[in-house]
Structure formats: C-alpha cells, structure tokens
Amino acid sequence: MNKKEFFSAHDPKIVPILQKAVIGIAGAGGLGSNIAVSLTRAGIGKLVIADFDKIEPSNLNRQQFFVDQIGITKVIALLENLNMISQFTKYQVHEIKLNEENIPFIYKDIDIMVEAFDKAKMKTMLIETWLTNFPDKPIIAASGLAGWGKNELLHSRKIDNLYICGDEETDLQTGISPMAPRVGIVANMQANLVLELILKEKL
C-alpha cells in the first residue's frame, strides 16, 4: 500500500497539514491507546508516546491490546499495533514513568500534548508541568469518564491553552469502573480536538 492509497479517503488539502503535526501522548492505557489508534488512522505525522506499564488481563476491557500481548510493555505492544495500521505515521515511544523532570525533555518538540493518564494525581502533575514549561502549547486533558451511559454529560471545555474532555464529575468508586465505550468516546473527543486545533488555523 502506498501513501496515496492510504490517504485516498482523506480530503487532499488536509493531508500535508496532518503529516507535519507532532503530537505527544502521556500514557498508553485506556485513553492513550485509543487516542494513538485514532491519530494514526487520521494520518498525524509523528506521535511521541510514553508509559512504563505492562499489559494485564484487566486492561483488555478498554485498551487497544490483544490477548497475546499480555505481559508486554504497553508502548512496545502499541508500537506493534500502530505499525499494523499505518506506516505513514512516525512513532517515538518511551518506556518510562513520566515526571516533572523528564516531561519537558521527552516532549520538547511536540505541537500539542494529550494527557492520557489514569490517576488524578498524575493528570494534575502533567497539566502543571506542561503549563509551567510550555504555556503557549495546547494541552488536552480528560477528566470524568468512568462508568456507562450518560452521553449527554460528556463535553469539552477550553481554559486558555488547557482543554478538558469528559463529564468532570464521575469518579472511580465501587461499582463505577472505566469501560470501553465511555473511555473510547472521551479518548476520541481528545483526538478530535487535536485535529481541530491543527486544521482550523491552517485551512
């Protein structure tokens, strides 16, 4: 398959813009794996993805991995899967636990950051680190996506260069776990916002 064939369903005007974009994804779990798959299919030029975790059976309820990948590092498995979708996105993966010190180095060359962590404490750390180091570059975070149903509560909201997707209210607790449809919707809201930010200024 050549590049022209892969992009034949795309509007030709947007392909060069998408192919120039470099997007960071912090986390390769429920949100990150879904965001990466959508942005790869969309034809983003380069993805920079970091996560330190390995795939566990419980991850298969919402994350874009397969049974024979259990036990493998998430970024390595995701790289395999993304390469099976498209060779027209470059993938840079980091098997590392992100923190205040390494985030500015790993993500120094990206255009937009997408927050894809599971824990609220990590989400807060990333947003604070990002807004401190790169106040002019957008960051798209997710908050409130556990459970099922309640489509009407999902929204996105802009606060300067910080964008939030989710319902901003449903917390993880007994009986409310993250599930594929709602995690996938919010991940794709984040990916959709990436496309909007890249394309709306350039077209």
Binding site: D118, A120, T124, I127, E128, L131, S143, A146, L172
Partner: protein, 67 residues
C-alpha cells in the same frame, strides 16, 4: 461591593482573599485541582499565599481518576 468570578459564578470579593478561602466558599472539596487566576497557573503550595484582587477570573478544574 467588589466581586470576583469563579468558574463563571460571580461571588463577593474579600480583603486578603486566598485561593484556599475561595475553594472553601465554593465548597470545592476535590483533592486534585488545577487553579488558574486570570490565565496564570497557581500551584497547590501557593493556594494559601496567593491573594486575589477584585475582578479576577478564577478557573478551578477538577481532575478525576479514570483513563
């Protein structure tokens, strides 16, 4: 009466009004927050020492686990 805006709600401004005080008035008890005052990030260890002026626009974003 001088006012400030918190997440689009208009509330009365007070002398020496800190971020901690605003979170208490708004009854925001969430543990993981991102706070911006007129676009400027205020970190958690600055909530007690940051005093806001009248007319500021405060945004409080609640980060919830799940992903």
């Amino acid at each position: 009466m001088k006012k400030i805006t918190v997440n689009n709600n208009i509330i009365n401004w007070e002398e020496n009004m800190t971020i901690t005080r605003i979170l208490k008035i708004m009854n925001y008890t969430f543990r993981m927050l991102v706070v911006k005052v007129d676009g400027k990030l205020i970190k958690k260890n600055e909530y007690e020492s940051t005093i806001v002026s009248p007319d500021v626009d405060v945004k409080v974003i609640h980060l919830i686990s799940g992903g």
